[in-house]
């Protein structure tokens, strides 16, 4: 697991260390950190994402990963299709673009 850095304003001077990534979702852009999975960060940004178990086994939170990198600190029990991610347990590792299921 990659050690996570806190992303307080004081770290703005060291941009390469601040692990803040951009998540593109349609016309929206949301800033996220590596401190917690994508799901709670999307929720705080007001994006309604489907979920059920919130621990990686039910697949309800599956969305499309169009490009970019995510990782799973613990391998989820759910089957993750390529080109998709599980928001409840994925840590965003680069700028990414996602699309909700539809």
């Amino acid at each position: 697991m990659v050690p996570t850095l806190t992303t307080s304003t004081s770290s703005q001077g060291h941009k390469e260390e601040a692990e803040v990534h951009r998540v593109l979702l349609g016309k929206k852009q949301i800033l996220v950190t590596e401190d917690e999975p994508l799901l709670p960060q999307l929720e705080r940004a007001g994006v309604l994402v489907e979920y059920q178990c919130r621990e990686g086994y039910c697949s309800s939170c599956m969305i499309k990963l169009l490009w970019g990198k995510v990782s799973y600190p613990v391998e989820p029990l759910a089957w993750v299709h390529s080109g998709y991610l599980l928001t409840c347990c994925a840590i965003v590792k680069s700028d990414i673009e996602i699309a909700l299921l539809g």
Binding site: Y51, Q52, C53, R54, Y57, M62, W79, H81, L101
Partner: protein, 377 residues
């Protein structure tokens, strides 16, 4: 080839497909072809719960106060769930154990089916706590037309597979004449196809069929009614989400061809059938919602909203097994349901085990709510 409860052959179980290879002999988990199934076993065991731990004395008082059409909604859903878990408590075992070839998958099937028997027992726990005559409720399940229609859909693929496999095990491959069923061709292809469709239909059953009922239970609980029931439904929903994972893995492994190349061909050929199974189930669930609300809706829910929810959840589930979404609905019309479906905070307080007993016939309906206050946890 007939089934053997302890296959004497020596073979490498890591080289076996999930189904239709060698019968399992040693129940061993030191080496596993698909470790996911042991992880599911462990998770399921960690979920273990007993219906009797959930106290339902307030539910009985609530139930009496529900309007008649609300009682109809509540009891009909319990009847339907009883049907589904009656099927699920036995069928994975009966249909799949004779043909499974991996020890970890065999044990997952048994663990899965066992957890369904807890669900069945929980319905009896609920029903005998809220009505005076449980017999009436249970007896209706077999004669109720609305439930009967669904019983056909949820059991027919299982039954076809069971029939084919039993012919295969007794007579082998070939065309066999079965009285009243005519000539039945037993080929590996037919067996595998029956298996694939069965797993798909079980996936759909657990993916969609419970959710109208879950929504109603949680809608009652949103009004602080039937909260013991909602607690049980939460525990059931948690189990069902795990069961769904099991059939999703089986389907995805089959479709990928990694497990058995012929299965990938069959999956391709059956793609439309699987879509049809999803759509038929969604249609039946929408009709079920109309049946539930035929005499009146409940606060926060009506047949139309539930229909949209069914379409929405069908889309989500289809995509988890690699299918395109079928319906145009894009949003969850009842997002509040997720807070109820979420697994955390599903805790059965240990003290409740002591105060919960079958209070059937012992609760005086005139009792003031205050008499029970000591028991509120």
């Amino acid at each position: 080839m007939s089934y053997s409860t302890f296959n004497r052959k020596k073979f490498d179980s890591l080289q076996q497909p999930m189904f239709f290879g060698e019968n399992v002999n040693v129940a061993r988990y030191d080496q596993q072809k698909y470790p996911i199934f042991e992880k599911l076993i462990e998770k399921q065991l960690s979920f273990f719960w007993r219906p009797e731990e959930v106290d339902l004395s307030n539910d009985r008082k609530d139930f009496v106060k529900l309007e008649e059409h609300e009682q109809h909604i509540f009891l009909s859903n319990l009847k339907y769930q009883t049907l589904l878990d009656s099927v699920q408590g036995r069928s994975p075992n009966v249909a799949l154990l004779p043909i499974v070839s991996l020890p970890e998958l065999e044990t997952w099937i048994e663990t899965w089916s066992f957890s369904e028997t807890i669900h069945s027992r929980s319905y009896t726990h609920i029903i005998r706590n809220i009505v005076n005559d449980p017999t009436k409720v249970f007896d209706d399940i077999i004669v109720n037309d609305e439930i009967a229609k669904r019983a056909v859909s949820v059991s027919k693929y299982y039954d076809d597979l069971i029939e084919l496999v039993s012919l295969y095990n007794t007579m082998g491959l070939g065309v066999h004449h079965v009285p009243e069923h005519g000539d039945i061709t037993v080929s590996m292809k037919a067996l595998k196809k029956a298996l694939y469709l069965t797993v798909a239909s079980v996936n759909v059953l657990e993916a969609i069929r419970f959710y109208v009922s879950f929504a109603c239970s949680f809608a009652f609980a949103e009004r602080t009614l039937m909260e013991g029931n909602a607690k049980i439904i939460k525990l059931i929903a948690r189990d069902e989400a795990l069961h769904l994972n099991g059939t999703q893995h089986m389907l995805n492994l089959m479709t990928s061809g990694r497990d058995d190349p012929e299965m990938a061909v069959i999956a391709q050929e059956c793609k439309q059938d699987v879509i049809d199974i999803f759509v038929e189930a969604a249609q039946q669930e929408k009709e079920w919602a109309q049946y539930l609300f035929k005499d009146g809706s409940m606060i926060g829910l009506n047949a139309q909203i539930l229909g949209q929810y069914v379409e929405y959840i069908t889309n989500v589930r289809m995509q988890t097994v690699g299918l395109e979404p079928y319906f145009s609905t894009k949003n969850n019309p009842i997002p509040w349901i997720n807070a109820w479906l979420v697994s955390d905070n599903v805790q059965v307080a240990p003290q409740e085990a002591e105060i919960s007993s079958y209070l059937v016939g012992q609760i005086d309906n005139d009792l003031d709510g205050a008499d029970f206050d000591d028991f509120d946890l």
